[in-house]
Symmetry: C2
Subunit: 345 residues, 2 copies
């Protein structure tokens, strides 16, 4: 790379100190600097195509106007959409964003966070992995501003922006019941993630409140790393038990993708054989012959709020902000079997 023009280049050219150049280019002490010199400096800066070296500036000011974003996997549409929203909101405020994917791996999350901090990010937005608390304690200890995205730990006080996941599970289940569902199974990840457990808790709570039998017996947990086979197995087990489930609540878009593949392969009829409701969405859902009913997360609000809280924290507002966003039920065909023909049951 060629040497870029520096303050010094401008200073020598104009015959003035770098200090003065710095002041005028930053529009500081304007009242104390002669208009002629200022104009001259600006002209030369433009002529030499000067752009400030953020890295040198950052070293001096400990501010890089860069934030770090760590998601589970940037190639997942959920993460990618959030990334875009965060990018835009950051950009509005002059920030650029470093990104990384944790793959739900604690070690990797930690490594990414450190790499970003070493590169001087002003703060971090992150979707924490299951055992991220140790890292979060370290961030707190070293006073790195951060806000959790999509997930948080109830026992750990920090800023976060997440869906009200209990509500999401509850709403989805209540809708299933209102549509005539009698036996509502759920497939969730085998995980200690609070946000996932909350979805299960919401489901269970709605079942109980509406006195729907079954409960935890209709819950199946799958492992992230064997997703395809385990989703197949669990869908199958819920449908082939003595009293098969008539509705499937799927706790994430990835689970839904695999479930749909299996349902297509087995030529099951949705919603006739099985009704489906998903928490979270992805583009694919609308193209299935029975478009999927799902719980929409307000991504725009989630990404923007997280970014704003972080930027606020960076500018010395140390308040802890905890935001739980409301889920939205989007009703499509996949859940409407019972509702449209309640007499058949």
């Amino acid at each position: 790379m060629k040497k870029r023009t520096s303050l010094k280049d401008i200073a020598t050219r104009v015959g003035v100190s770098t200090a003065l150049v710095s002041y005028v280019l930053n529009n500081q002490k304007e009242d104390r600097i002669s208009k002629e010199v200022a104009a001259r400096i600006k002209a030369v800066a433009k002529e030499l195509n000067y752009r400030t070296n953020q890295i040198a500036k950052g070293l001096k000011t400990s501010k890089t106007f860069t934030i770090g974003l760590i998601v589970a996997d940037i190639s997942n549409s959920f993460s990618a959409s959030l990334a875009r929203i965060i990018e835009d909101e950051a950009d509005k405020n002059g920030y650029t964003v470093l990104f990384g994917s944790s793959d739900e791996n604690d070690i990797k999350l930690r490594k990414l966070a450190h790499e970003m901090i070493n590169r001087g990010v002003d703060g971090l937005i992150l979707a924490p992995t299951e055992n991220a608390i140790e890292l979060l304690l370290e961030l707190k200890e070293t006073e790195v501003p951060f806000v959790l995205l999509d997930r948080y730990f109830p026992q750990f006080r920090s800023s976060y922006v997440a869906l009200d996941n209990f509500q999401a599970g509850y709403m989805a289940t209540e809708h299933a019941i209102e549509s005539g569902g009698k036996r509502i199974g759920m497939i969730n990840f085998r995980s200690t993630h609070f946000h996932l457990e909350e979805r299960t808790r919401g489901w269970l709570s709605a079942l109980r409140e509406h006195k729907i039998p079954g409960g935890k017996k209709q819950l199946r947990l799958v492992r992230e790393h064997h997703l395809e086979s385990e989703v197949q197995k669990t869908v199958n087990s819920l449908l082939s038990q003595q009293e098969p489930v008539d509705t499937l609540l799927l706790a994430s878009n990835m689970i839904a993708i695999h479930a749909l593949r299996y349902i297509i392969e087995k030529r099951l009829k949705v919603p006739k054989d099985i009704a489906i409701i998903v928490i979270d969405e992805t583009e694919a859902f609308e193209f299935f012959y029975a478009p999927l009913t799902f719980i929409r997360q307000p991504l725009q609000e989630m990404g923007q709020t997280a970014t704003r809280i972080l930027l606020d924290n960076i500018s010395h507002n140390k308040a802890v902000s905890q935001v739980n966003l409301s889920p939205e039920l989007v009703v499509k065909k996949s859940s409407l079997h019972h509702y449209s023909s309640p007499l058949k049951r």
Copy 2:
């Protein structure tokens, strides 16, 4: 943020110069430094939890181990998938990545590139916008290493990794013909992007070679910014003309998404009423009742190769590498009407 431990902290603690600390922590001049001192330094570094300040190091060495990635829109699955692959490949080599979305806007692309360069990226991977050449000339002039991704300008010599788009258009069209297509329309973006024009050229060339009539009369161009309405209009016009098209070649996944929505809305039967082939893919295609035949881009290879070329360039290999990747035809149900019942025509 708290002050992190610096080389100086370690130096004073051990009672040695920062230079020495720097040497041992970078494993330099190992033969010239006593093992005891080295061990002592390493121990203290560990104890104080030292991590090098990349920004200070970068200022001195002009190397930040950060690269910039500019795509069209990170929330598009094509960009997001590439981003993930590039992230992984960069990570393998100790690099972190800054990202940005150009929205196909020349001004924004330029702004993003400058912001990244100001932050000291070692190089850039970018999907250039239509009129990016001026920026590229500047990058060349200032010797910022870069490689173009997905697109390039035939009249501008630079490293790039892209699909062989002529071949993609040709393959798709030939498959349509072999499947019995007699009137094959194409919808592409109204754009001067070489990679898009090549897709059209491939389509046209296949039509000519197989003596299929129609040609450019069956080509429709849509604008990015009115995508939904223009796709609807053009699909409609191709199907309602005197001699309607029997096959639709769609030049991108975004065009396909809108076309599918319209086709579903109008209850057109695929492939009976209209066969469909798409260049590029997205998860949604497989869930349509007639899964879409598409041209797969080798994303893994594209992202990895681009990253490797860039890192190579960064480490002073100035060679220009131009890589055209082979498309792969993935045949599904949406294009098989003609083939499965050739006698009906």
